[in-house]
């Protein structure tokens, strides 16, 4: 049995992306909304900053702290949830095929996702370090073959 956690680099990347989005909204609202609606500009900026702050500095850090992927000899368990805890367990025998999605520079950004496709749905393991994602894929393939 081995536990995997989301890559901490990914949290940093997400926060940087949120700050970038905030900056775009800040400048775009000032640039494209006419001057006579300056109150609207201020409201949009405040709402954007509030949402960005809540998501980037409260929700995501809590989310990353609660997510855990456990790989055992028979199943994969995903534990997650900030406000409501969710435990998902999938037997290797139910997995039909797997997909790994990697973004550019995923070693630095930590944007690696492993998706297990099984009867009636999917199990998504998000924001993994590249090495962890590859290891999980190998372990899942190994245990699946062992169980056949």
């Amino acid at each position: 049995m081995k536990d995997y956690f989301p890559d901490k680099h990914c949290l940093l990347t997400l926060i940087l992306l949120i700050i970038l989005a905030e900056a775009i909204i800040w400048f775009a609202s000032g640039r494209f909304i006419p001057e006579q609606f300056s109150i609207l500009v201020t409201v949009i900026r405040i709402i954007a900053i509030a949402i960005g702050f809540i998501i980037g500095f409260i929700y995501f850090p809590l989310f990353f702290r609660t997510v855990r992927y456990t790989v055992t000899e028979t199943e994969i368990i995903r534990t997650s949830g900030v406000f409501i805890k969710i435990y998902q367990s999938v037997q290797y025998s139910a997995i039909q095929y797997t997909t790994m999605i990697s973004s550019p520079f995923s070693k630095i950004s930590g944007f690696n996702f492993v998706v297990f496709f099984m009867f009636g749905g999917q199990l998504r393991l998000l924001f993994l370090a590249r090495d962890d994602a590859e290891e999980i894929m190998k372990l899942a393939a190994h245990f699946s073959r062992k169980g056949e």
Binding site: Q96, I101, S102, Q122, A141
Partner: protein, 494 residues
């Protein structure tokens, strides 16, 4: 390591077709009403060519990065340039692999290859590729095929007549088309005196045609009726071309089905992944003792406009021959039958609907005579036409009452039931049953009867419901399937 067929570049390029907005905007900017417009536009044409080149280049790069790897145990598809998507499909999990060979792709040596596993809830293939013939052959070498020595000897190739009958029966509802066409032909005939003046002037030619043929049918009604007959005929021809040359081979592990003239399709189905088989009939087929054998397996019949048919038309008495590997045995009787006393479950609604037509006709007749006296005959015709399908429906449901039931044999379950105007005989492994529901309304509770619904594990969420079973039979069926259901607050012994 293989690449997809170069024709795929076109599809990948098409995803960037939105870039053509730039040549379009340039065209708009340079557009002005003068003789120099063309020269002004052509001077900047290199920019348009650059955009088109970029679209094709993006497609080419995307195609280059789409790589297929075939290993001993799995098929790997790598896709994407910036966001890399790597899909691993274990060969043992492929339920159905499909090779399509359409004429227009065949000219370029290309084939469509798709593989489907039992994953997901939608009837879409998990892996779709456009490959050349040699790549297709190399991949299919790893997909299990029927073994020559284990082939079922008695599985006959369907005759041309059976394909023809299948195309007739399953081409957009043959009886429905005849009914609708008749409605317009005959209804138009009656309405001729009332509305022909306004409708037949729609086009002079069609009005002339009706006059020449001495038909008292308005042009519009004739056109609509002919449209329905014509569309059915097109559907019939398409089905005939689609299912012609039907060939089926099976051993105890794999079933190979191929059919089609303009688009020859070959399926390889892993028998252990078949969820259930469904023998479908309509009333005419039931009276003639014919069935159409369909199969529920991920990937089979998932292509648009294709039915998951295994045997287009087969005699009911011969159904067991050669299909033992799929658990189909001929001559099995219902152990748990629908009770005649529970006829209301089947017949009540159709009888009420059929009986309601006459009072409704009488009720509206007075109004029609008062306000639109010329439409009286048309109303009478409409009432007769409404009665016909309802009486047909009563006959269908009466037949369903007499034939519905559930049987268990070996490890299989056989369900005979009806849905609307079709009859289903569903055969599946007991372990594939994922849900059982025993339903009882107040009347059924008083008369100790119930309805049993059964679902099989598959990509489709289909219910097979047998009504008017006795309460004891319903509970016994649930118990046999491993479900402890209680209807009267008492636990049944398991």
């Amino acid at each position: 390591m293989y690449h997809e067929h170069p024709l795929r570049i076109l599809k990948y390029s098409a995803k960037n077709i939105w870039l053509l907005i730039f040549p379009f905007i340039r065209g708009l900017r340079t557009y002005h009403f003068s003789k120099d417009f063309f020269y002004t536009w052509i001077q900047g044409a290199w920019k348009d060519l650059l955009v088109i080149g970029a679209i094709i280049l993006f497609g080419l790069i995307r195609w280059f990065f789409s790589i297929i790897d075939v290993h001993e145990n799995e098929l790997i598809h790598r896709d994407g340039v910036f966001i890399r998507v790597t899909t691993h499909v274990p060969l043992a999990n492929i339920s159905c692999s499909t090779v399509e060979n359409p004429v227009h792709l065949g000219a370029f040596g290309a084939r469509r290859l798709s593989c489907d596993t039992r994953a997901g809830i939608f009837k879409t293939a998990d892996l779709k590729m456009l490959v050349n013939e040699s790549t297709c052959a190399a991949i299919m070498k790893h997909i299990p095929d029927t073994a020559e020595k284990n082939k079922a000897a008695e599985l006959k190739r369907p005759s041309w007549l059976s394909i023809l009958l299948f195309s007739v029966f399953f081409s957009s509802g043959f009886s429905g088309t005849v009914y609708v066409a008749m409605f317009f032909f005959k209804g138009g005939d009656i309405a001729h005196d009332i509305i022909s003046m306004s409708l037949s002037t729609l086009t002079k030619e069609t009005a002339k045609l009706t006059d020449k043929l001495l038909l008292k049918i308005p042009a519009m009604a004739l056109v609509i009726g002919a449209f329905f007959i014509g569309s059915w005929f097109v559907s019939f021809v398409v089905n005939l071309l689609r299912y012609a040359g039907f060939r089926i081979e099976t051993d105890n592990k794999v079933m190979k089905v191929s059919y089609g003239i303009l688009n020859r399709v070959e399926y390889r189905i892993r028998l252990s992944h078949v969820n259930y088989t469904d023998l479908r009939q309509n009333l005419v087929m039931k009276l003639m003792g014919a069935v159409s054998l369909n199969v529920s397996c991920a990937g089979y019949g998932a292509v648009k406009n294709r039915l998951p048919v295994l045997m287009p038309v087969k005699k009911e008495k011969d159904i067991g021959r050669g299909l033992e590997a799929m658990g189909i045995v001929g001559g099995v009787q219902n152990t748990y039958k629908a009770r005649i006393a529970g006829a209301g479950s089947y017949l009540l609604l159709p009888i009420i609907a059929a009986a309601a037509v006459h009072p409704l006709y009488n009720a509206t007749r007075g109004l029609v005579i008062s306000f639109f006296p010329k439409l009286e005959e048309l109303l009478h015709f409409a009432a007769v036409m409404a009665e016909i399908p309802l009486i047909w429906f009563i006959i269908v449901k009466a037949a369903a009452l007499l034939t519905s039931g559930i049987t268990f044999y070996d490890d299989s379950i056989l369900i005979r039931c009806s849905k609307w105007n079709s009859f289903h005989t569903v055969v599946g492994d007991r372990k594939n049953v994922v849900k059982v529901e025993v339903e009882q309304n107040l009347l059924q509770r008083m008369s100790k009867r119930c309805a049993v619904s059964i679902w099989f594990g598959s990509e489709e969420y289909k219910r097979y419901k047998v009504k008017a079973l006795s309460e004891a039979d319903g509970l016994k069926i649930a118990e046999t399937l491993g479900c402890g259901i209680s209807l009267r607050n008492t636990e049944i012994s398991r």
